[in-house]
């Protein structure tokens, strides 16, 4: 068998399965299952990254594997879109696997061997989701992914909250899977062929195509965390071990984005313009919602989970714009929007994984997830703190890191909207841009809170002064992802060139124009917009260096250390710093109606005054609790039938018989 990208990718998937199975050989051995095998997994991930990049420029390759049920062989296909997502999985998983090799400890929750199996099955199933070329393979891989991640989330299954969070995740994963299954059912268009080729060949009337799109948006949206299907994210992410959170947030959510792109741009050929409007509105709302909720969280992983919701919202607005433009036959703009959305996918995969892994190191060093009990860790954990700063700045969308590039591209897509033929869209696009701008600014707020409260200031608890820095394997993992943030921010032209192959295969046109200059990003044309991160970074560096030299050489570098000034107040304690609640207070004030706020206020006569504040998500009240109540009510009504007396059941049988006889006559 010749070495092609596809065979390499399949090889990696098989290798991951084998590594996982090998973990069961010595399940109690942390050195073998927790260290060596995860290291091997990282090597496989690097191979996947290489294969993904290699196959971007190659022609589409499809195979039918002689596996699976009789008459239902597995179809796999490697096209540019799949290659991109494979590269994303590989690049992110490589860092996370190296980190995991240093992270997992013996005696924490599940056995190391079992963890190794679940982790690598999870990776392999994500690869197969992207490779799948028929509905069966896709659904099998999709469900394997959901189950593997469920078991990973509930690694510490002895904690009741974690079991509950895992169950919620499983429930929403399956509700989403039903949507996807029905979507494929619609997509086959009467041919009863469930290969993606058959779905591409089927021509659906607009109504059915819209139904298929709606089902896909629902099904994949449940996995991606689109509001109102987002509720599992803030529960599952804090429950899972940090590398698993990183993998789920960084990579698994992207498979849902892959699904939306695959269905709406590939299987359904051309999206209708109003799908784009729907996705744009939904994405914009999700983005603002996620950012606002992230700003008021007090649990660091929950904060990151809400920020993942925000980023997914941003990506979906990009996809929405792409669909809108594609539906209106503005292909160049559609290509620009799609590139921006996909670029943000890989950016988010890098920085969010990085930040989740940093929370893992903090968790191991301090045992605390609560922001109110952290602080000052930059002194104790400099490696983690400085690498986290890269992720923080990237996620806040600051130049010259990667978060800014995709933000820039997306704004360009919003900006060069010529007069669109529909007034409502003409209104929606600038409002989307405004929501997006607000989201970006809010994410800077969130990241200052996240970084400032965890790493800066003074230690809020005495135990924090014993915190230790991450081990060397963890550092390598973090550094790899931080490097990814920098590289993706510095070389946007190369990335966009790669993304253009996807545009050409899905939309038919690329952006194209940016290839003239390797250092200057000009997505539309040079007169309209350009951005050069390299020149930018160099300019900043030179300005800072000159300032430093001038100030230090011309004057002096004398420094005296003393107690903090703080306006002369002598009795400073670390408790006087802003807590996470305090830092989020302005957001609570400004966006009050977003939250369900429960306050417990002390009265002046309380012996032991207690102040408590609980913030809730209104979607529970609006959607989930009513559904739960109605299910319970129905169950109660149906319960009347079940009285547990044999005479009654005999009467039911008799009544049924009579009814059937009545029909028969």
């Amino acid at each position: 068998m010749a070495l092609t990208p596809l065979s390499l990718v399949l090889g990696v998937a098989i290798a991951w399965l084998a590594i996982g199975a090998a973990g069961l050989l010595r399940p109690h051995d942390i050195r073998f299952a927790g260290r060596a095998l995860f290291g091997l997994g990282a090597v496989a991930a690097l191979l996947l990254l290489a294969a993904g990049i290699w196959s971007l420029g190659q022609p589409v390759q499809a195979w039918v594997l002689p596996l699976g049920l009789p008459d239902l062989p597995l179809h796999v296909r490697l096209d540019p879109l799949a290659s991109f997502f494979l590269a994303l999985i590989g690049a992110t998983a490589a860092g996370i696997s190296v980190y995991s090799a240093g992270y997992f400890r013996a005696g924490e929750g599940a056995l190391p061997g079992l963890l190794c199996l679940q982790y690598h099955v999870f990776l392999a199933s994500m690869t197969m989701v992207v490779l799948a070329d028929d509905a069966y393979t896709f659904m099998v891989a999709w469900e394997t992914m959901a189950l593997a991640s469920y078991f990973l989330v509930t690694t510490q299954h002895r904690v009741p909250e974690i079991r509950k969070a895992g169950f919620l995740y499983l429930l929403l994963a399956h509700v989403g899977a039903i949507g996807i299954l029905l979507c494929f059912g619609v997509l086959q268009g009467g041919s009863w062929q469930f290969t993606f080729d058959a779905m591409r060949a089927a021509t659906l009337p607009p109504t059915w195509a819209s139904i298929a799109f709606g089902l896909a948006l629902f099904g994949f949206g449940a996995k991606a965390g689109l509001v109102p299907l987002h509720v599992w994210l803030p529960e599952a992410h804090p429950a899972a071990p940090s590398p698993v959170s990183a993998l789920m947030s960084g990579v698994m959510l992207k498979t849902a984005i892959y699904g939306i792109v695959r269905v709406s741009f590939d299987l359904l050929h051309t999206p209708l313009w109003w799908w784009g409007a729907v996705a744009l509105a939904l994405g914009a709302f999700t983005a603002v919602f996620g950012a606002v909720f992230a700003a008021v969280q007090t649990d660091m992983k929950r904060l990151l989970a809400y920020s993942s919701i925000e980023n997914i919202g941003v990506i979906v607005t990009g996809l929405g714009l792409a669909m809108l433009f594609r539906g209106l036959k503005m292909n160049a703009l559609a290509a620009l929007s799609l590139s921006a959305a996909l670029y943000h996918c890989i950016n988010h995969a890098q920085f969010k994984s990085l930040l989740f892994l940093c929370t893992g190191s903090v968790l191991h060093a301090t045992g605390q997830r609560n922001l109110g009990k952290l602080g000052g860790l930059i002194h104790r954990m400099p490696w983690v703190a400085w690498l986290a700063l890269v992720g923080t700045l990237a996620m806040a969308g600051l130049p010259p890191l990667n978060g800014f590039v995709s933000e820039w591209l997306l704004l360009q897509a919003y900006l060069f909207t010529p007069g669109l033929p529909h007034t409502i869209v003409n209104m929606l696009v600038p409002l989307g841009a405004a929501a997006f701008a607000l989201t970006v600014a809010l994410s800077a707020y969130v990241m200052v809170k996240f970084y400032g409260v965890i790493f800066l200031g003074r230690a809020r608890e005495a135990i924090l002064t014993q915190a230790h820095d991450a081990g060397w394997l963890e550092r390598i993992g973090l550094a790899w992802l931080a490097l990814g943030c920098v590289a993706l921010g510095m070389a946007p032209v190369a990335v966009l060139d790669a993304l253009d192959t996807i545009n050409r295969s899905l939309i038919g046109t690329g952006i194209g124009a940016q290839t003239q200059n390797w250092w200057l990003l000009t997505p539309v044309d040079a007169q309209r917009a350009s951005y050069s991160p390299l020149v930018f970074a160099a300019g900043m560096a030179i300005a800072i260096a000159i300032t430093y030299l001038v100030v230090r050489r011309l004057y002096h570098g004398r420094v005296r250390r003393s107690d903090p000034w703080d306006c002369g107040f002598p009795a400073q304690t670390p408790r006087m710093q802003d807590t996470a609640e305090g830092f989020g207070q302005p957001i609570r004030h400004v966006f009050g109606p977003f939250f369900r706020i429960e306050r417990e206020l002390p009265t002046p006569f309380d012996k032991e005054p207690r102040y408590a504040l609980r913030l809730g998500d209104r979607w529970w009240d609006w959607l989930y609790l009513p559904i739960a109540r109605s299910v319970q009510e129905t169950a109660r009504v149906v319960g009347y039938l079940q009285q547990g007396r044999i005479a009654l059941y005999l009467f039911y049988s008799f009544a049924t018989l009579l009814t059937l006889l009545a029909f028969a006559l």
Binding site: A444, V448, K449, L456, R458, A526, P564, M576
Partner: protein
């Protein structure tokens, strides 16, 4: 080409050097309006010089982020000065970074100063950081919307091109730009810690925003922060000129005469703008901190309205 590059570089250096003078001019105007004699227009330079000579006093718990941050501030503002045209549209880095990147530069500076404020772990520091981010998260999108409106009219996000295009449209009043202009002035006041959002001369810690963040800084670090604040205000003033009063900027095709004329015209505009700012600040009172979001939300809505007006009416 190379002469243009030299002019561009000169422009950026000039902006950095005369930024404290602009602040000095505003303060002097304010003093006159308040029937005081004032300290003279060169006072900011004297303050900076004094601070540079002192020994830096740094709190025990400060990390290196605290010491790096003033340099990043200054670097970011110098970078912004290199993007914005002052008297000719040939800003040296105008191609490498556009208006969106300019907003990013301001955000970068803001994030760094807020992080530095939280670094020592004092009560006022984190209070200032929180308030600064509160102002920032509403002012930044408003500024972005202002830029988007101007970009839609001129079909470019590059600030020099925007100024060039808008400067050539003689005496056409765009309703969308009028909305954007009001929003921009509001953002300018908020982002530069001026009245009505913040009071640059306050000594009452509880009402501080920007000052609370830099309480722990001293000597050369404080000098850099003061200078970069002055440069930030100057940058906003030149952005305002480039967007809303671009007439008289030396264009792309202009010769030496146009260039020679452009410098005094730009100086005149800055003088008038500084006096106007001093007037606004003298006539208004500082808002309570929780009125600030309303003020900024108004700015944001006006900016979005400007964009909508442009898209719907095409003007």
């Amino acid at each position: 080409m190379s002469t243009w590059a030299i002019i561009g570089l000169f422009e950026a250096v000039l902006a950095i050097l005369i930024a404290p003078l602009f602040i000095g001019w505003i303060d002097q105007c304010r003093a006159w309006l308040q029937n005081r004699r004032g300290a003279g227009m060169l006072q900011p330079y004297r303050t900076i010089r004094k601070l540079l000579h002192k020994d830096a006093v740094i709190a025990h718990g400060a990390s290196s982020l605290f010491r790096v941050s003033p340099y990043v501030q200054f670097g970011a503002m110098a970078m912004a000065a290199a993007i914005i045209p002052v008297f000719s549209v040939r800003a040296p880095l105008g191609v490498a970074a556009d208006t969106i990147a300019l907003v990013g530069v301001f955000a970068l500076a803001r994030v760094f100063i807020a992080l530095a404020a939280m670094d020592i772990g004092t009560a006022f520091g984190s209070l200032g950081a929180r308030r600064e981010m509160l102002v920032g998260f509403l002012a930044e999108p408003a500024l972005l919307m202002v830029f988007l409106t101007a970009s839609m009219i001129s079909q470019s996000t590059l600030l020099p091109t925007i100024a060039d295009v808008l400067g050539q449209i003689h005496f056409t009043i765009f309703p969308s730009l009028a909305f954007a202009g009001i929003a921009f002035v509001m953002v300018l006041l908020a982002e530069n810690a001026r009245i009505p959002i913040d009071n640059p001369t306050t000594h009452l810690e509880l009402t501080m925003i920007h000052e609370a963040m830099v309480l722990e800084y001293s000597a050369r670090h404080l000098a850099l922060i003061e200078w970069s604040s002055a440069l930030k205000l100057f940058n906003y003033a030149t952005i305002g000129i480039a967007l809303f009063l671009p007439w008289g900027l030396a264009g792309r095709t202009g010769g030496a005469l146009e260039l020679a004329l452009a410098l005094p015209i730009a100086a005149l505009k800055l003088v008038i703008l500084g006096a106007a700012l001093a007037l606004v600040e003298t006539l208004s009172a500082k808002l309570r901190i929780f009125r600030a979001p309303e003020f900024l939300a108004t700015a944001f809505l006006l900016a979005v309205l400007g964009l909508l007006v442009h898209l719907l009416l095409g003007s």
